[in-house]
């Protein structure tokens, strides 16, 4: 059988292959990486009956324009995304969280994410990708991932593992994109390094998400934090969501492609159930931080998992 594949007619701004990421390797200096928005990533695979950890294309702001040169496939797009499908029947404005059939010659045009940053494209059965340390996730900075970890580029051939064999399409209706402004934070290992007054400000005044934000970190600008102890510590392990504060007092929230260790004190950490929402916030948006207890964070996490399960239970045939 001839190999089925897409050709990239426009790569988009930051399109990479992502699954859940790499585990058990951080002691080698290799960051976990993986899809920024776990929930959207997971739902894209579940909608297509894929294995949960199948590799997807993650895009930011503007996604790729792909042409199906050979084969037949079924796709879905998740996130808050505006996209179109061009086929012999004409042009269709796509609905997210719904599967579509693509035939040879069809084009998929992922135009933009709406009031958000990341979206996901999954195909039935997945793309044909090589794994490294159990994952297909790309880390362009370290040349790790399919095609030496490069971002998806113009004229790339993206291979499809197998042609679609299912007839019916599926949808999750009524996905809501709620506005979120307040993000919950647990105290970090150096919480006590910072003055009481500046922590009070940190948890009550707005912070602006700056353009210096990518898969590695999010720089926010607001009242700077006053460090009373030391602005350097012996490097220690980092977990995504950690809020580190370098000497200038301006916080950086470390995201999925963070360095594995870091030598700046950390005032806190974004709770896990708020992470997907945080990374979807556009730059120039103002957000607030609120301090919560571990018990509250664990309860929120249970609710987060519950909500995902409910969405999966709501998948219906069209």
């Amino acid at each position: 059988m001839e190999q089925s594949y897409f050709e990239v007619l426009r790569p988009g701004i930051n399109s990479t292959f992502q699954d859940r990421g790499r585990f058990g390797v951080q002691y080698m200096g290799l960051a976990p990486g993986g899809a920024m928005d776990y929930q959207s990533f997971l739902l894209s695979n579940v909608l297509l009956n894929n294995q949960k950890n199948t590799g997807t294309i993650e895009f930011a702001y503007q996604g790729p324009l792909l042409k199906l040169i050979k084969g037949k496939t079924k796709i879905t797009i998740t996130g808050n995304v505006f996209f179109k499908i061009y086929s012999q029947k004409g042009e269709v404005i796509g609905e997210t969280y719904r599967t579509y059939d693509l035939n040879e010659g069809d084009q998929l045009d992922i135009l933009a994410t709406r009031s958000s940053v990341y979206g996901y494209l999954s195909i039935e059965g997945g793309f044909k990708l090589d794994k490294f340390c159990g994952s297909v996730s790309s880390q362009p900075r370290a040349f790790i991932g399919p095609n030496h970890g490069k971002k998806i580029e113009l004229k790339d051939k993206i291979l499809i593992l197998k042609n679609s064999s299912t007839k019916e399409n599926k949808i999750i209706r009524n996905i809501k994109f709620e506005e979120k402004k307040i993000f919950s934070v647990l105290p970090g290992p150096q919480f006590h390094y910072f003055s009481t007054a500046s922590k009070k400000e940190f948890f009550s005044t707005p912070y602006l998400i700056t353009k210096q934000t990518d898969r590695m970190g999010m720089r926010v600008l607001g009242k700077s934090l006053e460090n009373l102890v030391n602005s350097n510590i012996p490097s220690e392990g980092i977990i995504k969501g950690a809020i580190q504060v370098p000497g200038d007092g301006n916080p950086i929230i470390l995201l999925s492609d963070h360095p594995t260790t870091g030598g700046y004190p950390k005032v806190g950490s974004i709770i896990s159930s708020d992470y997907d929402d945080l990374i979807q916030q556009n730059s120039n948006k103002e957000i607030f931080f609120q301090l919560v207890t571990l018990e509250a964070a664990e309860q929120q996490f249970a609710l987060y998992i519950e909500k995902i399960k409910r969405k999966i239970a709501n998948i219906e045939k069209i």
Partner: protein, 225 residues
């Protein structure tokens, strides 16, 4: 021993072995790392994403759907650290370095600040048996120590935007090697061609492990691959 175990996230805890940075403390961190890693591999501790050893801390990152910090803290606090012995002894490596001026970008400046000749700096670097405290920041990036006191130095006032791959550099009491092109503020004294992280090696991509020992060997430019 562990001074305290605290949460650093709802899916992560940190074991604090104190503020000092020395080999004895680091070996205790690595012993606990190896022990927990084995337990996790055997699935005797569930839902472990990553265990990250550093100079004097150990971070455990876990899946809150499968485990929680209360249970993990309890497991760790019941371990008798004194009974954990190093099962794997560290490997010994000899790493070629070329100290030629074209690679040793900060050697000249160091002769002024350290009040030592180039030869004296190189000699001290070659005589030291380095210990790998941790791998971190970037894939394969080792933090090694301890330099002889006479080479203790601060970082550059203004970090370089791009440090060449394989640069061997020093700061404070430590020595590092940059495995990738990256920004960096350490004082560069030479270059090696050894590949610290090899993505073609699927079973063991990272050359060094914490606890390994390293001696540097002076080579000519032509001997760098």
């Amino acid at each position: 021993m562990i001074k305290k175990i605290t949460n650093i996230s709802d899916q992560g805890i940190i074991c604090d072995f104190g503020e000092e940075v020395n080999k004895d403390i680091n070996k205790k961190v690595i012993n606990l790392f190896n022990y927990l890693k084995e337990k996790s591999n055997k699935n005797e501790i569930k839902g472990i994403y990553n265990i990250i050893p550093s100079y004097n801390k150990l971070v455990v990152h876990f899946d809150l759907e499968k485990n929680n910090s209360h249970k993990i803290k309890e497991i760790i606090s019941t371990i008798d650290l004194k009974k954990l012995t190093t099962t794997q002894s560290g490997k010994n490596w000899t790493i070629p370095v070329c100290y030629d001026d074209e690679f040793a970008l900060d050697l000249e400046n160091l002769t002024n600040s350290l009040k030592l000749s180039k030869e004296e700096i190189i000699k001290s670097h070659l005589e030291t048996e380095f210990y790998v405290y941790m791998i971190g920041f970037m894939p394969g990036h080792p933090y090694m120590g301890d330099l002889d006191k006479k080479l203790f130095t601060s970082r550059l006032q203004s970090p370089r935007v791009q440090v060449p791959i394989g640069s061997v550099a020093i700061a404070e009491k430590f020595c590092i090697v940059y495995p990738y092109l990256s920004p960096g503020g350490w004082n560069i004294i030479g270059r090696t061609s050894v590949k610290l992280f090899d993505t073609k090696n699927l079973t063991n991509p990272c050359l060094f492990s914490p606890g390994d020992t390293i001696k540097f060997k002076k080579v000519n430019k032509s001997e760098l691959k």
